[in-house]
């Protein structure tokens, strides 16, 4: 970075010809108009975070396309924009969610929750009231004629605003002495006895939302009032009927005695999710098991798959071996089948009682391992399937690396009297590990998060007993996270799931950083500076 050679300086600073510049300008103008239109639409729908992401990315693209200094970035601007939108933005979202209680019962914003709760109403036992007369249509629909304190008459029907019709309007007939219409078109007037006997009548909500009237007693109908009123000072909802105070507690309005209002809302809860992960006593047992198995699975898979692959590579590392090409083609077949398909096939083959392997073992020994119901055998099955899936990969990379190790070294060691065993352990293996080291680390990381295998084979089963959230004996962190976030059997918890995702990221990222430091990848970067 420090030394910019002459030709590099020339490369970056070279003015671009006129035509491409015009072309680029046209692209920028076209893109910007599209983006502005899209942004306005998104903002109109209230999708602000998404709109902000698009806006920032568009700004970045503009700068890159218009400024001369960013010339090299122009070559990758499409990829970077797509990555920003589909990788980085979701990551930022996940990180933010990790510090909230986003999940079942907390999916909406505080404003939305208060809005919903404020819509709940109750019938006040006292206060402003109307005298009422009921009308009923042959279809069983009701209408009320209300007379207010000033003697004004109103017509109230369910779902319609309160009307104040004169006789002749809205089908209202002539009024009688007490100001009640003799008839309303389409309805039959109920006398007081019929009305009192009609139990449905007291359930009907007349009028519109926000201005609803209900029958309170044989004499009175009254307007419903909001049941909960938000008090900004206490950050609480106050029950107007009982006077109970529901104070906001981690995104749920709760009374001091523990009663709570639904729905709750999404709110920042600081480090609680992480605290939950690291020190919650209820989760401790299952999580320790899960993390242990996660590491054991990744390490054992790597060891097993690498050993078998290496053994095969060494065995057939012989240019004159007969049918070498054919043998290799047959051996890599497991690797060539899409993993989803092979995992499902193995699920079928290991199926208890019905699957071929169980039937064969049953026939031979009268017993077959309970692959899906016993925690240990399920783990064995997972390792076995993974071995089958991945040893060809290791065989391929090991035989490639073996061929790159010069023969002279082994020959020199033979002259010095080393046995073939010693040659392998002291010379071949160390050299091979240097060559395939980065690939082994990548493979470890891949298996550490091998969601497909765990999920498709047995969905992490068999389930552990008595866990606060669903977890299985073969679950690894990432499949546990998937259950938390998507399965919904006991309620989804995106906040907690996101927090675990971040923990996984730190594990994987530290392995990646280790890889930077101690393998050739790093040197490769440095030597090009």
């Amino acid at each position: 970075m420090a030394t910019v050679t002459l030709q590099n300086a020339r490369k970056v600073g070279r003015p671009s010809p006129v035509l491409p510049r015009l072309f680029r300008l046209a692209i920028v103008v076209a893109m910007d108009s599209l983006v502005v239109w899209f942004l306005l639409k998104l903002a109109a729908l209230g999708y602000y975070p998404f709109a902000a992401a698009i806006g920032i990315i568009a700004l970045f693209v503009n700068v890159v396309l218009l400024r001369k200094e960013t010339y090299p970035i122009r070559w990758m601007v499409v990829g970077l924009a797509l990555m920003a939108l589909f990788v980085i933005y979701p990551i930022i979202f996940t990180v933010w969610v990790a510090f909230t209680n986003y999940g079942e019962g907390h999916l909406i914003t505080k404003e939305q929750a208060i809005d919903q709760l404020s819509k709940q109403t109750y019938l006040p036992p006292e206060g402003k009231a109307y005298a009422w007369t009921a009308f009923k249509s042959p279809e069983g629909e009701y209408a009320l004629w209300l007379i207010g304190e000033g003697g004004n008459g109103y017509l109230a029907r369910p779902g319609e605003p309160l009307a104040q019709p004169q006789p002749g309007e809205l089908g209202v007939g002539e009024l009688d002495a007490s100001g009640i219409p003799q008839e309303i078109e389409g309805y039959e007037r109920l006398n007081a006895f019929l009305a009192a006997a009609d139990s449905n009548l007291t359930q009907v909500m007349f009028g519109e939302e926000g201005n609803t009237i209900q029958v309170r007693s044989p004499r009175e109908a009254a307007e419903l009032l909001p049941l909960y009123v938000y008090d900004r000072q206490q950050d609480a909802m106050i029950d107007q009927q009982t006077g109970l105070v529901y104070i906001n507690l981690r995104g749920t309005f709760t009374t001091s005695s523990g009663q709570s209002l639904r729905p709750g809302f999404m709110e920042s809860i600081g480090l609680d999710n992480f605290e939950n992960f690291f020190i919650s006593p209820a989760l401790r047992g299952p999580l320790v098991q899960l993390v242990t198995w996660n590491f054991a699975f990744a390490i054992l898979s790597l060891l097993l798959n690498f050993s078998l692959g290496l053994a095969i590579a060494v065995l057939f590392n012989d240019p004159d071996f007969p049918l070498k090409k054919l043998i290799r083609s047959l051996l890599i077949i497991p690797y060539t089948v899409p993993a989803l398909i092979t995992i499902l096939i193995w699920r079928g083959m290991l199926n208890p009682e019905l699957g071929v392997i169980d039937r064969a073992l049953e026939g031979l020994f009268g017993w077959a391992p309970p692959w899906f119901t016993n925690a240990w055998w399920a783990k064995v099955a997972i390792l076995l399937v993974n071995l089958w899936l991945s040893y060809p990969y290791f065989m391929l990379i090991c035989s490639g690396a073996l061929q790159s190790i010069p023969d002279e070294l082994a020959e020199a060691a033979t002259v010095d009297g080393a046995s073939s065993w010693q040659r392998f352990w002291r010379i071949t293996l160390p050299l091979l590990l240097v060559a395939v080291g980065p690939l082994l680390i990548a493979s470890f990381i891949f298996n550490f998060n091998n969601f497909n295998l765990i999920y498709l084979f047995n969905a992490g089963g068999p389930p552990m007993a008595n866990t606060p959230t669903p977890a299985g004996h073969t679950d690894i962190l990432i499949s546990y996270v998937y259950n938390l976030a998507f399965s919904g059997s006991r309620g989804v918890d995106y906040g907690f799931a996101s927090a675990i995702t971040i923990v996984i990221f730190f594990i994987v990222a530290s392995i990646t950083l280790f890889q930077f430091r101690y393998t050739r990848m790093w040197e490769e970067v440095s030597e090009n500076v």
Partner: protein
């Protein structure tokens, strides 16, 4: 005389030893091959088994026939061809576009020197260390919001699925490709530059042809990776007509696995075949690419 006999004896004994060793290794090879291809053979047999359930299957089916294949191609809930063509389309388009993005970007990383270059390269690796599974929630929300404005970019659309896949184009393949580009001597571009060629001309006319082998490898690995992907596709695609083959197979397997085992096997086999053929036909190139960098691990 005696020395000559002795050396001939040693020679023939070495030969015998070698023959024995090859023999043993051949036996091992046969065992390994059985381990490798048994599941595949088993699926072939299942697909030919007329009774079609998991329980009634034997390795060599009685009365083998193509009944399962016929069912597969006519079953309404299993529109195999639609799913297969969807997969070809989605994987094909994303593989090609993703390759273009990767190649052009790697060229810039390999040939230009600019501030933040190393940081960007390392950041790319770290960003890819983030498990994207959870990001699904955000991706899903984003795509459904985009669909409210432009339906074609919303849920249940191949276009949006492809775009999301392309978000991964700046992934580890950049490293693989850049490593390869670094091995192409810069003298070539420098001499072309003296002649007055632009960067774009150098890239397309000089460098790109030299990249052909690695381009094919990355294209194929991209294609295979996308073809086999099902988590994102499952979340974003919502109807039987838009499913890719992997999503369809997985849903089908979840619903009636043991009963329709034969049909599933036929579908799985036909779905796997194109990939198997590509792999086996191009195994040398792919092996070369694999040993250069971890692409599928």
């Amino acid at each position: 005389m005696s020395r000559a006999v002795g050396s001939r004896g040693r020679l023939s004994s070495a030969k015998a030893q070698r023959r024995a060793s090859i023999g043993t290794r051949l036996v091992v090879a046969v065992l390994l091959i059985v381990f490798s291809i048994f599941p595949v053979l088993w699926v072939v047999s299942a697909s030919l088994n007329p009774t079609g359930t998991l329980a009634t299957q034997t390795l060599i089916p009685r009365n083998p026939g193509f009944g399962n294949y016929r069912t597969l191609l006519t079953l309404d809930q299993f529109p195999f061809w639609t799913w297969f063509l969807n997969s070809l389309k989605v994987a094909g388009i994303s593989a090609v576009v993703s390759l273009a993005i990767t190649t052009v970007a790697s060229y810039a990383f390999s040939r230009f020197r600019f501030r933040g270059r190393q940081t960007m390269l390392k950041a790319l690796l770290l960003i890819n260390a983030f498990p994207t599974l959870l990001a699904l929630v955000a991706t899903f929300l984003m795509i459904s919001q985009a669909g409210d404005v432009i339906p074609v970019l919303g849920l249940n659309s191949h276009a949006s699925l492809i775009l999301v896949y392309l978000g991964g184009a700046m992934g580890v393949n950049i490293w693989l490709m850049k490593g390869f580009l670094d091995t192409i001597p810069r003298d070539i571009d420098e001499s072309a530059m003296v002649e007055g060629a632009t960067d774009w001309q150098i890239f397309t006319k000089l460098v790109l042809p030299l990249l052909r082998p690695i381009l094919i490898v990355i294209l194929i690995l991209n294609y295979i990776g996308t073809y086999g992907e099902f988590v994102l596709a499952r979340v974003l695609l919502r109807s039987n007509e838009t499913y890719t083959l992997m999503v369809g197979l997985q849903i089908f397997a979840g619903a009636q696995f043991t009963q329709r085992w034969g049909v599933f096997a036929a579908g799985a086999l036909m779905g796997a075949l194109p990939i198997m053929i590509i792999y086996l036909a191009l195994q040398d190139q792919i092996v070369g690419g694999l040993t250069q960098g971890a692409v599928k691990g």
